[in-house]
Amino acid sequence: MSADPAPLREALSTHALNASYGDFRALRGIDFRLHAGEAVALIGANGSGKSTFMRTVCGLMPAAAGEVRLDGRPIGGLPAAEIVKRGVALVPEGRRLFASLSVEENLRLGAWTGRAGPWSLESVYALFPVLRERRAQAATSLSGGQQQMAAIGRALMSNPSVLLCDEISLGLAPIVVRDVYAALPRIRAQGCAVVIVEQDIAQALRVADRVYCLQEGRVALEGRPCDVTREQISLAYFGV
């Protein structure tokens, strides 16, 4: 560890986090750290536990054991609605926009908690101008990329200190993925730490400050993109 300037404040951390689906242990003791303002990519094969990790952190799934802390305070076991009030927002896999609601109604619902912060309807529209054009349309009438932008915007409306993005580019055309990622620096500039689940390893390494690779519910590799080698990643990704 070399040139990190200021001491890093921990935004989100988990310690020995376990979660199960019935008998299947999906997470086996995950130790994870996210610093304030940092972007971390979570990679790993299908079924390695990435989505389960995200769902457990934001309270949609109960942890079987272990700790989740937000700004040093334990949040494990709280209901999802309470965790988002404290500043953790999830962009769920598959966007999960509300089909009965217009784009703008989706965004407004994102602000349900009333948390104060830089994000408002105006600033989200400034980040994704296409959403302003489509504001009155049904959310499900948007293209995949626009839906992803709406889902990210909806999550930002809660003014999170930690933004979790599950499968951010799944099913999107490369050019659309570029547009979605173009928003990332501006999101981080507002002081939001970001965790991204990404299938495209090259993309993950490009945007992240650090990367975690999960394998069968364990952290198989953790490090900064410049410090990990292709061989290490292959090994962590596929096992031996």
Partner: protein, 291 residues
């Protein structure tokens, strides 16, 4: 000719009563995906509660609305919050069975407290007054009130769903009860609020029903059947559809009754069957919730 106009008008207005009873059913299915088997019994329960307070306090039956509607709403909130929310999930059966049990409880409770005699809310001249529209066409004041109440209830629910944040949260909860929690919305509380609204609507329906006709403790099941028919004719989950369904049912029954006094009920069921065969999704099918 005038007779037929009167018949159809009468049917349309009585449809308002069916719509009132169907609204709560459409609501609890639309938001919670609960098929509330006890819905008709709650209408009868509200009517009996109104009868209990109407005599000692010397109230007009319509004045009981001010007490019974909030009381039923509070009851609905508590019922959903502490009982039915425990049964709501991916499976439609547990809430179905729970409300089936509630139906039996309510019926037997009413039977043991009030005996099997039928009762009604005496509305005085209100039950028989009519309004002449000219040319021998006249409408009953009570049916007119029922239709107005239905329009007011459904209109205000529609406004709530379309124009208020909590209404948006309700539609979103109906779409995806898991993801709505990620917005910070307490989906259990939203469900309880929706049931409170459904119970308020059914209380209005029950009180008008008891002014319209006499009720026995076990008449809820029959009322449930009509309410179901109205909801399905209109299109599941659609509030204005429930209104239209109520009117279709009312008109069909009025026409049947006109042809032969014994055919009223039958004609209503036949209209329902015809809709099921010709437009199984109802007249106003909704793919999105609570339009």
């Amino acid at each position: 000719m005038v007779e037929w106009i009167n018949t159809i008008l009468q049917g349309l207005l009585v449809g308002g009563l069916y719509a009132l009873l169907a609204t709560g059913l459409a609501l609890s299915f639309g938001i919670m995906r609960i098929v509330n088997i006890a819905h008709g019994d709650f209408a009868v329960l509200a009517a009996y509660a109104a009868m209990v307070i109407v005599e000692p306090f010397g109230l007009h039956p319509l004045a009981t609305l001010l007490i019974i509607v909030p009381a039923m709403a509070a009851f609905g909130y508590a019922l959903q919050r502490y009982v039915l929310n425990r049964t709501v999930g991916h499976d439609i059966m547990p809430p179905l069975l729970a409300t089936f049990g509630l139906s039996i409880i309510v019926q037997n409770l009413l039977l043991s407290v009030f005996s099997a005699d039928t009762r009604s809310l005496r509305a005085g001249t209100l039950a028989t007054d009519s309004l002449a529209l000219g040319g021998q066409v006249a409408v009953g004041v009570l049916p007119l009130l029922e239709m107005s109440a239905a329009a007011a209830v459904i209109g205000s629910l529609w406004w709530l769903f379309r124009r208020t944040p909590v209404g948006g949260a309700m539609r979103a909860t109906s779409d995806d009860p898991e993801t709505v929690q990620l917005m910070g919305v307490d989906n259990h509380r939203i469900h309880a609020l929706a049931m409170a609204m459904a119970m308020a609507a059914v209380a209005v329906g029950g009180i008008f029903l008891a002014m319209h006709t006499s009720l026995g403790p076990s008449d809820g099941s029959l009322r449930l059947l009509y309410a179901f028919e109205a909801v399905i004719i209109g299109g599941l989950g659609s509030l204005w559809g429930a209104m239209a369904g109520g009117m279709v049912l009312g008109v069909a029954q009025a026409i049947g009754h006109k042809l032969d006094p014994g055919w009223g009920t039958l004609a209503g069921h036949l209209a329902f069957l015809a809709v099921l065969v010709l437009r199984p999704d109802g007249l106003f099918p909704v793919r999105r919730s609570m339009r």
